[in-house]
Symmetry: C2
Subunit: 428 residues, 2 copies
Amino acid sequence: MTDTPGNPGGSTQAAHPCGSGPSDGSVPAIHAIIPAGGAGTRLWPLSRRHRPKFLLDLTGAGHSLLQDTVERLAPVTATTTVVTGVAHIAAVADQLPQVPRENLLAEPSPRDSMAAIGLAAAVIAHRHGRDAVVGSFAADHTVADRTAFAGAVRQAALLAEQGWVVTIGIEATGPSTAFGYIHAGDPTDVPGAPDGRRVLGFTEKPDADTAAAYLATGDYRWNAGMFVVRAGVLLDHLAELRPQLAAGIEAIAAAWDVPEREEVLAERWPALEKIAIDHAIAEPVAAAGGVATVPVSMGWNDVGGFDALTELVAPRSEGPAAGAGVLDSVDSADGADGADGADGADGADGAETVDGSAPEAPRADVRVVGSDGALIASTSGRTVVLLGVPGAVVVDTPDALLVTTPEHAQGVKGVVDALRAAGREDLL
Amino acid sequence: MTDTPGNPGGSTQAAHPCGSGPSDGSVPAIHAIIPAGGAGTRLWPLSRRHRPKFLLDLTGAGHSLLQDTVERLAPVTATTTVVTGVAHIAAVADQLPQVPRENLLAEPSPRDSMAAIGLAAAVIAHRHGRDAVVGSFAADHTVADRTAFAGAVRQAALLAEQGWVVTIGIEATGPSTAFGYIHAGDPTDVPGAPDGRRVLGFTEKPDADTAAAYLATGDYRWNAGMFVVRAGVLLDHLAELRPQLAAGIEAIAAAWDVPEREEVLAERWPALEKIAIDHAIAEPVAAAGGVATVPVSMGWNDVGGFDALTELVAPRSEGPAAGAGVLDSVDSADGADGADGADGADGADGAETVDGSAPEAPRADVRVVGSDGALIASTSGRTVVLLGVPGAVVVDTPDALLVTTPEHAQGVKGVVDALRAAGREDLL
């Protein structure tokens, strides 16, 4: 961090940690980076390797989590770049016709979040300059209050322009042991970003007692991995902290928009270090005083499991399923089905019509008696009846059925592990 | 009851209630009558109109409840006669190749149990004489202790030979409100039938307090509708108590084995009174002192709902579903599927192979974590996972899924009623 020191000396004065950017006082639009990876194992059997969580409509709103993410960012975005696996690039393109094809970056293999976000930031730096403010946002979370979200991102962009690595600090609504926490310190006092606070450090997922103690102080927020930073600042931190990884990313980015891309990608990508951006950048830069956070309360949900999904899907107020949350299709309007059609790995659901388009899945007929607070997700089109099982979680797909409760949401991963161990790759 | 009075005067002496039969002291083999009707609504969606309970293998033993009933009776049976609806006669014939086709009586329409059992008794009387001892046994119950069952039936046959209408009195293992009760009085003191007792009366299904009071006396048994009686005695009682119904049945029976059967059946059957044998015969004859009971403890289960089924299906002791009861197929070895093939009313499961035979349904892959005491019945061949739902009941079929608990077993009928009201005849 010699060239972009993070407020050396840990001074509490409200100074930006490195040379000021080209700010004219207006809020810069950000270049959004959306890493779209991960199957969402804890949502099995709804999500699968070939039908990952971010391509699914898990809110019943008619659009996928990825589409929702892009729409949420639109008011604060100059450009959108999605980084995803080669297997999903066609489905992502189908779902995001408004995103130029050149902004969809295909990873040949997963190399963790630093490589994905770093590559996107480097490509953006080449295309838009190193002063461009980038922001990375997971493809598979939801935000209820988009105005609050946009406000926080704008403040983060102003802080980023001043050289901070900025993370959005999610208001902790309970002592969750499922998230890491951000420990916030003094205000950053940057004009236009009144909520900005210096970050004293990041924590791993705590135990319940520790989480409760965090909340009692009022200084801790959930870390949702939303980072806003100038592209140049990010790449300089990376060059300082992980020079080999930075060099590999830079080589690939330099070749991205020229004919040599595939050649360079094939040579350099597999050698990139697998590391999360939290460990590679956020933690060491925070320790050096270079990270700020913008706390926000915006109804964030990581859709991390069936407990989170149960909170997300509002119970129906009328009809035969009144009292229960129902997802009777998880195909987005623009076609998570398209993804299936492309990879043909969805068993009974993967049947295609003669013209090659995926058939519209029939809506499930869901009926509930004495089962308030239950969640039913069905992609099979069957009749599903819950009788006297309040709070149950029932996930009904053409080839697999899961019956559980929100309290056992974290156990779903173990089920998937057991299926893998039993050789049921067809179900993963 | 003038010609076959039921021990008039209520004398407690051990006398048979009407003229002695042709007993030589040996136990007469009985002519079994098995009325096979009723869809088993409380076992929906496992049982359907076109896939009734008695045709299903609900014990996992590889044979249907009907087949189990016939096998259980074999040691005490001279002949077996099944009375069933025309829609099921082919499936019954498939499942019971050992029963002569002429002993399968097809009802043109349901006229309740008195018509069904009366017709069979009358046909048997024509074929084997009025002294033949008949016994009626439901097609869809289970008995764990066949030796105890056979012993009770033999005692009942000896009592029947002496002119009694005999009912098997099931040991009440708890104060059930789902069954009617038999109130037993003094011993009948018939040689060879040491357990026989006079019946003081039958009760309707009691409330819980009344049921508990019954049990405390030691004199009450569950009424499972198993009656053993000489054919002539039964028909004489009927002629006395329901002369019009008796005349109709006699006319049909007289024509059964001659060319005029269909003509007579078409004319007389629809006019037969719809009444249960309990109301037509058992109750009035008991009031007149002509009914005896043989109490027995034999592990009887009426498979009347998912509470009963949960008790019936033993939890697996090993494998991925250890701790839960699993029915991963309900097709009997000789083919409940054959019934489907015939009526073609089973939706996705009804696909037939080119040669017209029904395909073998794939076995479900059932996995259970933290769900001891659960019951999983699956006919879909899917992977079914229960995670943290002890005692749950999950019934997974190709077109309908039910998730409930044993405590809500009686509510299943309401679900079926709601489906009918919603016009979902395809699911019934």
